[in-house]
């Protein structure tokens, strides 16, 4: 089985993670632009960060046989520094048209302040003007209300629900998101947000229509193998294979595909041109790519891989 992790902050992860992800069958990832754990203070650091998402990090992923895409936006936390936010809004258009930028994101609410609302709306407008998809981060606190409000504002700003991915859902939010025609993504976190066990129950109850999962792994405690591990658990608990494939691969492709930048052929076919992207000329897949019909093993963390 192949997997997509449509929300993971690879810049914060190690090469060991990339190796284990490739071995576990992850073929493509989407890295949303987010904050770095502490607020940035200059627009220049935003520029360098966004340029690494379309440049270096994508290249680094390619070394491990994983296709890397990103979403570009001003995150809700840093929208609260209005002087800086204005400058960031000015430079976003420079990045939104780049190759492999699959959506405007991750944007939305954190504390649900006025400033957050202002820049969420401005970016929704940008997405509408450019005909781009939107990836919405829903808040940790006051989540249910924040999720409803995110969808209200998206519709108010003229976005088609089918072009908006609502992320970090839970049992309390999913029904409304699906009822209103948005995509519902779930972040599988070891302790907060959503655990694999709970996800199995959601799959049982809601099926696989417009639902998919991601790891949102970043610089905090999180698991870059959350998608394949949850897939394994779902299979073990008797969820139909076709539903598991939809939740862990096909629906992410269907959600992000219409932007034209997220194409299955990118990872199914290897163009001769792409081979030149490989540093030292070696693909890291080395025959590890699992057959489509089998569930790849979840690799153990292996200390011997550290050769420093």
């Amino acid at each position: 089985m192949r997997f997509i992790d449509p929300h993971i902050h690879m810049s914060a992860r190690t090469t060991d993670d990339y190796e284990r992800m490739a071995a576990a069958g992850i073929v493509a990832v989407i890295e949303p632009a987010f904050w770095l754990g502490q607020p940035r203070t200059h627009v220049g650091t935003f520029i360098d960060y966004l340029s690494s998402l379309v440049g270096w990090e994508r290249f680094r992923a390619s070394q491990f046989g994983i296709r890397h895409y990103c979403t570009i936006g001003l995150n809700s936390k840093e929208a609260n520094n209005e002087a800086l936010a204005e400058q960031v809004m000015d430079i976003l258009p420079l990045f939104l048209g780049k190759e492999g930028v699959v959506a405007v994101g991750e944007i939305g609410y954190d504390d649900q302040t006025e400033a957050e609302d202002k820049y969420f709306r401005a970016q929704l407008q940008l997405a509408r003007d450019l005909g781009m998809l939107v990836q919405v981060h829903t808040p940790h606190r006051d989540k249910k209300r924040g999720t409803t409000r995110s969808m209200d504002v998206a519709i108010e700003m003229g976005l088609d629900p089918g072009a908006v991915i609502i992320d970090h859902n839970n049992e309390e939010t999913v029904a409304e998101v699906l009822d209103r025609g948005f995509w519902a993504a779930f972040t599988i976190y070891p302790e907060t947000k959503m655990g694999s066990e709970r996800m199995v129950e959601i799959a049982r109850r809601y099926g696989s229509n417009r639902i998919f999962i991601d790891s949102s792994a970043d610089w905090g405690k999180s698991d870059p193998l959350a998608v394949p591990k949850t897939a394994r658990l779902m299979i073990e608990r008797g969820i139909a294979r076709s539903d598991v494939e939809a939740i862990c691969y096909r629906n992410a492709l269907a959600a992000f595909g219409p932007g034209g930048q997220f194409r299955e052929e990118d990872w199914l076919t290897r163009q001769p041109r792409d081979e030149r992207l490989l540093y030292l000329g070696n693909s890291v897949l080395r025959g590890q790519e699992p057959r489509v019909d089998e569930l790849p093993a979840i690799p153990e963390f292996d200390e011997r891989q550290i050769v420093k």
């Binding site: 994508r58 290249f59 420079l94 034209g260 490989l278 000329g281």
Partner: protein
């Protein structure tokens, strides 16, 4: 015909109608003196409009390219790369303005864009002004970006000082990149580079790691005294490719010791007629 006119002609013959119209509009805006911000937006969307297929130039077009700009070899260029360089060149003929725009474009570029901007180096106005930009490309960790400067690009051999040139050649070996596509490789050989390459070979030998046979191409003309010991080692312990490389390299040495070494180890090896071609064959065999 100027290289930029030639690019326009190559593209017109290949782009579908919609993309050709989009490009014509972009070129009109560039010719009219486009603002920086508009140029950056135009550039950032290029691949979405024209795609990334190979330019697939004919032999006649490649000949026309090198006639219009000696050393220019766009055989590996893609449509999006050609369009980026075409638009950029149309946007200004002022070297300082071009250099500032390149800095800004490169600071926000994706990988495909970086490759295009570096491949375009031989076509920009005020050539010497872009040497630091080119050296920045050589410093890249991304092999494809490094090769955009290093391979089939006459710019480094024309504009790099000796230190920068030597770093380029040494780095090519470090990242496993072939030497033969480097334009001006033979012309820019120098004793310092030969010393650096021998030190590098000794390091690799000490670690029991292979050494690219191509390395000796830059050492050959300086093969004398202790350098000959390296060649003796190639003959005695090297692979077939390494022995072939030693023969080719020593063929360019003036020192009588080199001739003796050749006589001793390769008395019946026919001398290569075209040594550049023979080195290329060695490159192909090694990759």
């Amino acid at each position: 015909m100027s290289p930029v006119e030639l690019l326009g002609r190559m593209l017109a013959a290949r782009l579908p109608d919609a993309a050709r119209a989009w490009l014509a509009n972009g070129i009109d805006r560039c010719n009219a003196g486009i603002a920086d911000r508009d140029l950056y937006l135009l550039m950032s969307g290029v691949s979405r409009h024209v795609g990334k297929e190979s330019l697939a130039l004919t032999a006649a077009e490649l000949a026309a390219a090198s006639a219009s700009r000696p050393g220019w070899d766009p055989r590996d260029w893609t449509l999006d790369q050609a369009v980026r360089v075409y638009l950029l060149c149309a946007s200004t003929s002022d070297g300082a303005l071009m250099s500032g725009r390149l800095d800004r474009l490169c600071s926000a570029a994706d990988i495909g864009e970086l490759v295009a901007y570096y491949r375009g180096l031989p076509l920009y106005p005020d050539q010497p002004r872009h040497a630091l930009r080119a050296a920045e490309g050589v410093r890249s960790n991304m092999r494809v970006v490094f090769e955009a400067v290093a391979h089939r690009n006459p710019y480094p051999s024309e504009q790099f000082n000796e230190a920068a040139w030597n770093q380029l050649v040494l780095k090519a070996l470090f990242v496993g990149s072939p030497l033969s596509p480097i334009v001006g490789l033979d012309r820019r050989r120098n004793p310092t580079l030969a010393r650096m390459l021998r030190d590098y070979a000794h390091e690799r030998w000490a670690a029991s790691r292979p050494v690219s046979p191509e390395l000796w191409r830059c050492v050959g003309p300086f093969a004398a005294g202790p350098v000959l010991e390296d060649f003796a080692r190639l003959f005695e312990r090297g692979t077939a490719d390494e022995r072939q490389a030693a023969v080719l390299a020593l063929g360019e040495a003036a020192d009588p010791g080199a001739a003796q070494l050749l006589e001793l180890h390769a008395p019946i090896t026919p001398r290569a007629g075209d040594s550049a071609l023979a080195w290329e064959r060695l490159t192909a065999a090694g990759t």
